[in-house]
């Protein structure tokens, strides 16, 4: 029996199976410092214990996307080590803030499989849930990936395609317990714009650009214990190392501070596409479009639904898709998410 993990192939997944992912992880202020060194992250709720206290929490949690990457990273050895492509996300909900000292684990339930007509690959859908050491769920999302078959002669499984929501309903968003934006300090947060200042359809160019270095995306990806070799081994792939798509998500989200400083807390992940590969040397810019706004029952707190697009600096501002409906070559990320914002 080989001692090393070759990863799973398409025929190794069956609908209903629950995979407990390995290596739980305790997070500290170290991960926060690294995150804020890797990305220009400035949302005040995650930067200042005092700001978080003014919002009703006992301290600043770790950034929402630290939770996402930590949960996601654990799934890689079981879900995407042999993935050809990361196809999409859906039904993502942030269920509880993650704090320093929390130990995070991940598990995934296989909720769909569909062999491709070429007989060599298939699509696997999993619902991944992250939980803390108290057994409380902190995050849940669906992801689907295209995976190679290990044995092309393995029989095709019965096709099961899950019925996924196009977006998370505003009424299903979970506001962190005790959160209130009634005493929200706009000066400390960095911008005066509240939910009522944003209009559906409004687009915001976040102005700033960041050129990515190899060392940075590898530091980030390793911190989440994501082991996919294409991110680390320059000899593994023509064109060199492929940057972890989550690195681009975090970079774009951080850049979006400039114009969306008050979209404080990500609570929903509706969909996401890594439109084109990203490599070191690329300079990344970001823009957002307001897709929807909603109320919540929590004091002073509304929700804003945003499209967040990361693109290369040399692409036209507000690049997205061509006339053929395909993403333009300069577009890297098209993410659809919900964030909490003062009303």
């Amino acid at each position: 029996m080989s001692k090393t993990n070759a990863g799973r192939f398409f025929e190794d997944y069956s609908v209903g199976e629950v995979i407990e992912h390995a290596v739980p992880r305790t997070l500290s202020g170290g991960e926060r410092a690294m995150y804020h060194a890797l990305y220009p992250a400035r949302h005040a709720f995650y930067s200042s214990d005092e700001f978080a206290r003014d919002c009703g929490l006992h301290e600043a949690p770790l950034d929402d996307l630290i939770a996402f990457h930590t949960v996601f990273g654990k799934t890689v050895p079981d879900i995407s080590l042999n993935a050809v492509a990361n196809l999409g996300y859906a039904e993502g909900r942030f269920l509880k803030p993650v704090h320093m000292g929390d130990t995070i684990s991940s598990r995934s339930e296989v909720i769909g499989v569909k062999q491709n007509s070429n007989g060599k690959t298939g699509v696997v859908w999993v619902r991944t849930t992250g939980s803390n050491h108290l057994g409380e769920d902190v995050l849940s999302y669906v992801r689907w990936v295209m995976v190679r078959k290990g044995n092309v002669d393995a029989p095709a499984p019965e096709t099961v395609v899950p019925d996924l929501a196009g977006s998370v309903a505003a009424s299903d968003l979970v506001v962190p317990e005790g959160l209130s934006f009634e005493g929200y300090n706009f000066a400390q947060a960095g911008e005066p714009h509240r939910l009522s200042d944003y209009n559906v359809g409004e687009k915001i160019d976040h102005v700033d650009g960041v050129t990515i270095e190899e060392a940075e995306h590898m530091l980030a990806t390793r911190m989440w214990q994501n082991t996919a070799k294409v991110h680390f081994d320059a000899t593994a792939r023509d064109g060199g190392r492929l940057i972890y798509g989550g690195h681009v998500i975090s970079l774009a989200r951080a850049l979006s501070f400039n114009g969306l400083a008050n979209a404080q807390i990500i609570v929903g992940l509706n969909s996401g596409a890594h439109a084109n590969p990203c490599g070191a040397g690329d300079t990344i810019k970001a823009w957002s479009e307001v897709l929807d706004v909603a109320e919540t029952d929590a004091p002073g707190i509304g929700a804003i639904r945003l499209r967040l697009v990361a693109q290369k600096a040399e692409a036209e501002p507000f690049s997205l898709k061509g006339d053929d409906g395909k993403y333009l070559p300069g577009v890297l990320l098209d993410l659809d998410y919900w964030a909490l914002m003062p009303v």
Copy 2:
């Protein structure tokens, strides 16, 4: 109304205005670890809780320059986003050590404005103060920058040039409460030299050199939430990314350990010039000159005033200015500061 911050222009500043800078920041052991990974920082007071306890504190504070960069970084979106040049520092005093768990905020008072004769730019002086979550001031310094006018037709303001001290008087330096060097452990600190071993006029070549990488200066600059795009976007400026001047300050200060290991604690910032731009690939060396020595009222504690110069490795040792009084091209930093040292 645009949602993004275009930064302030010269005509947007008026003497007497106080700007509360956004995004307070809670610091942890993570920032200390990052700082010690980014710079060869070894001053024992900031490296060891036990050493700091032997000096009368309850634990090691965060490095003095972590406080400086954190306070400085917050000012960038309001003060220097449209700055043409960072012209100088004066009257800097470190008022209280910053500890893990402290939340740091910054505010700046405009204390001077002077339009340049070209009518297109002007100089703005601000006194910036950093404070912790208890409302205690931790650092105060004056900085002046040259800023573009947004509207060249805006009327020139009444010129106000603040009267700034050439250096902080030794009697105005603040020794951290409870600090004593009477039980100072020279072996642990790394060098045997005490204040009486240094002579005014003495120059020290700190020997070691460090070649800077893009990833490093960006990690550092982002950690301080400094958003000036020239540091991050390789497409923003001919010649590529410009390294944050504070990165050179920290690098040179850390290199100065070799010869000044007992200049433990920076307490005053008299003046500073970023003499030439610095970019990735440059190899930095440092030298110091003893400018003054002074007593303090605290047990066993003296103060040493130092010129700290960072230069490129290929420049002549002890490079500074040419016969024309201008900085030589290989000189990057000329900093004048006070540090506490055992007598």
Copy 3:
């Protein structure tokens, strides 16, 4: 008297001398986060407080090699600043886990000197011991280095070559107090293989590769306060910066998770050779060979003795030595160590 440290030369060491190394260091969660960002470290005992609790400890300690690098780094200014080569390690024993908040100091006793026949260099053997702020020893190992003479006319000292064990006897390994693997969670640890699944002579190719960047090895080496200039100054050496051998050790150990996830805790360091220099741009792979297995008195805990080899990606798998008994050019590290593993 020069203020800077020129380092010691061969004639400056005498057998029996004990050198207390400078700058003790307090470690926090920041160092752990950085370590896990710099290396693909995933051993569960060091990743999860909960996993460590299930093994009988009150929390996850810092990674074993964080202890090693911290202790080692302090010795550099006194032992290897003028070293021509790092020749070997022996009799390394990890004596006590290092936890967040511990302050680590190092001291070295000179246990051997031997001038080389060329009269210009000599070999110095030291036994280095790291201890925490409670005065408890956490690590002890022997290292020998070749050091230049400062004065070639200095008389040769009496040759003393210490009698060193070829490997640490299994009975001398120290199991952390309270450790038990009786409730060991293999699913969380990431692999099902227990000690009885490994056979002496078995070789494991750890599959994954990592391409090293300059910024990464410098961040790592600085974090341990290792000041040897060849690691930082691109102008100091033909061929550019030489990567700290310990960086390769940590990288290879982390890569060995894939196949040795349950070799949880390094407890012994039998020998080690940095076979060839390593530089940025090299892609590193690793393989292991099982050298021995042993029992311990602790519940459910065995010991596995492993050869860990780091090699360049382009070298043949399982590269080691040529017919001439010399390391092949693609081999970087040959390390012999003991780790604890569930029986």
